[in-house]
Subunit: 339 residues, 2 copies
């Protein structure tokens, strides 16, 4: 490994001068700089992170702690967004996956500490409140896609209420009145928020919200639920007074509704309009007709979380803003206007 000392010797200057050049310190004569830079390139010198870290007491890594986010198709974009933002100032992402194991989580907090991470993003798979233990970590922590029960931590979350509103509003504007809803688990905060948004849309359109048209499409424990949207859709669609549109808690549920419609010989969107959530490309862009859905802005959430980690260092103790990222409606082909 080439060191400052070796470059310095070769260039005939002191290591401090080389250090200055590497770090873009202005106080170096131009010709010295150029000469040394040549040697640096030629010898392929790369500054040793370990030594830098040790000397400066800080690193250029940001940690990403997740229950499963980095490992599930739903929200990998958080990672992409975080990286995009990190890249801008040459920082690095270390990722840790707890699979929900608290012991593992504790170990990873120590790991982040050992690596002198400048901050940690704590991302959850579902938008929900998250009570973090005692993270044994004294730098910036920003929650992504979740928020602390105690409200004492900065967090970046999707605007689920707005998303729910957008879903219902769009269908209502298209003229639908009998709108069925197949929700995610009620244990997820998002479910409550979106319901609130939908009801607001119904109210604004002067349409009565019918509670018996609302079903839960995913049952069981959070991480390993069973998707029952197919059965729910079947039962709703076989009634004589069936809904003309179905709002789904995510695109996976929507896919099952497509299957149910196909099974019953209903064509989409002619006989039934279907609205998803998430904009999970492999489903939303692939289905025919392509799925109209509301995008979960994971990329932006990840990006924003990193931005907040950077910000956090300048802030004082109690800093705990809750940033809402909008969920835009993505109109494709699965919803039609009623005449």
């Amino acid at each position: 490994m080439v060191t400052l000392r070796e470059v310095a010797e070769r260039a005939g200057v002191s290591i401090k001068t080389v250090s200055r050049i590497v770090n873009g310190d202005a106080a170096v004569k131009a010709e010295t700089r150029d000469a040394v830079l040549l040697h640096i390139k030629e010898m392929n010198y790369v500054p040793d992170q370990a030594a830098r870290m040790m000397r400066s007491g800080t690193s250029n890594v940001v940690g990403l702690m997740t229950d499963a986010v980095a490992t599930t198709p739903y929200s990998v974009d958080i990672v992409r967004g975080a990286q995009a933002e990190l890249k801008r100032d040459h920082k690095t992402l270390i990722i840790a996956n707890t699979d929900g194991d608290p012991a593992l989580e504790a170990e990873y907090w120590r790991m982040f500490r050992a690596h002198k991470a400048v901050g940690v993003i704590y991302a959850a798979m579902f938008h929900r409140s998250q009570s973090m233990g005692h993270p044994d970590f004294n730098k910036a922590v920003v929650l992504a896609n979740c928020f602390s029960k105690e409200g004492d931590r900065a967090s970046v979350i999707p605007d689920d209420e707005g998303g729910g509103y957008a879903q219902a509003d769009y269908l209502l504007k298209l003229g639908h009145r009998r709108i069925g809803i197949i929700t995610l688990s009620p244990m997820i905060e998002a479910t409550t928020l979106r319901g609130r948004g939908m009801r607001r849309a119904f109210r604004e359109h002067g349409v009565t919200f019918e509670y018996d048209l609302e079903k839960v499409g995913a049952v069981g424990p959070l991480m390993g639920e069973t998707v029952v949207a197919y059965d729910m859709a079947l039962s709703m669609l076989m009634k004589k007074n069936r809904p003309t549109a179905l709002i789904c808690g995510n695109d996976v549920l929507a896919l099952q509704v497509f299957s149910a419609a196909a099974h019953l010989g209903l064509s989409v969107p002619q006989d039934l309009s279907i609205m998803g959530f998430d904009d999970l490309k492999v489903i939303s862009e692939t289905l025919r007709p392509a799925l109209t859905t509301v995008a979960l802005p994971y990329f932006e959430i990840g990006r924003m979380a990193v931005e907040m980690v950077k910000l956090a260092s300048d802030e004082k103790e109690g800093w705990a803003p809750k940033v809402l990222v909008p969920c835009p409606l993505v109109i494709r082909e699965s919803c039609r206007a009623l005449v």
Copy 2:
């Protein structure tokens, strides 16, 4: 930050003794160990990675360089698999995403070097040959889901030929004879290999392979292809002598074939059997009927890649094995036996 020195002072021993205890060195009296361990726990001491790295010249991080793998639903399991194996000896994963940009890739190689990564896994989104530049990195490099054009690097790849064989063999065993095929881009190595496997299966069953039943289902550049499986499926299924089964290059294509079948009023698997590839859960487990498919063992590929990184350090220069990971058939409900 608590240091060895502080613990040593508090415990009334030398820093070296504490160091020994932290590292599980046997040569410490039991009672000393216990006493010091108490202090360590109480003071919440965590060894400084930077200092360790600097002293030992090696870190405990493994790099993961990808074009897009960590960011696409298809293959995030590589990350999970890698982490699972890494966790066993408390190693850490640093991930780098190049989005296919060579300049960025060069920068990340330097970054890995700066972090003294013990090895790097170079993962590609599609199983294909990959000509790596001059990676400016002198430790273990293992390719995952791709292999070097020059054949000079260790790699872990899925057994696509076996997978193709499994797809065809299963349908042939079920009695299908007119089997349509909708492939991925011919630019992907996997496409060639699977085709070979399928033809072997046809041969073994004494069935003639009909080339006009094979269509390409994804066209355009590798990273941003257009999925046209829907149209391909429609055209194949509208012919009078339509195939009784369709083999797809992946589950996304299969999803479009489901849509095409629904559009034509064909029921699956009654009128048409559909076989996928990848076992992308959001599709394969969600569809009704659930998709029979061949699993792409990404988790195992990631895990194995890490194992090979560890192995690599013991090996000599030219070490470049090509490890094949089997692709198991996952039987669900989308294929039926012909009477």
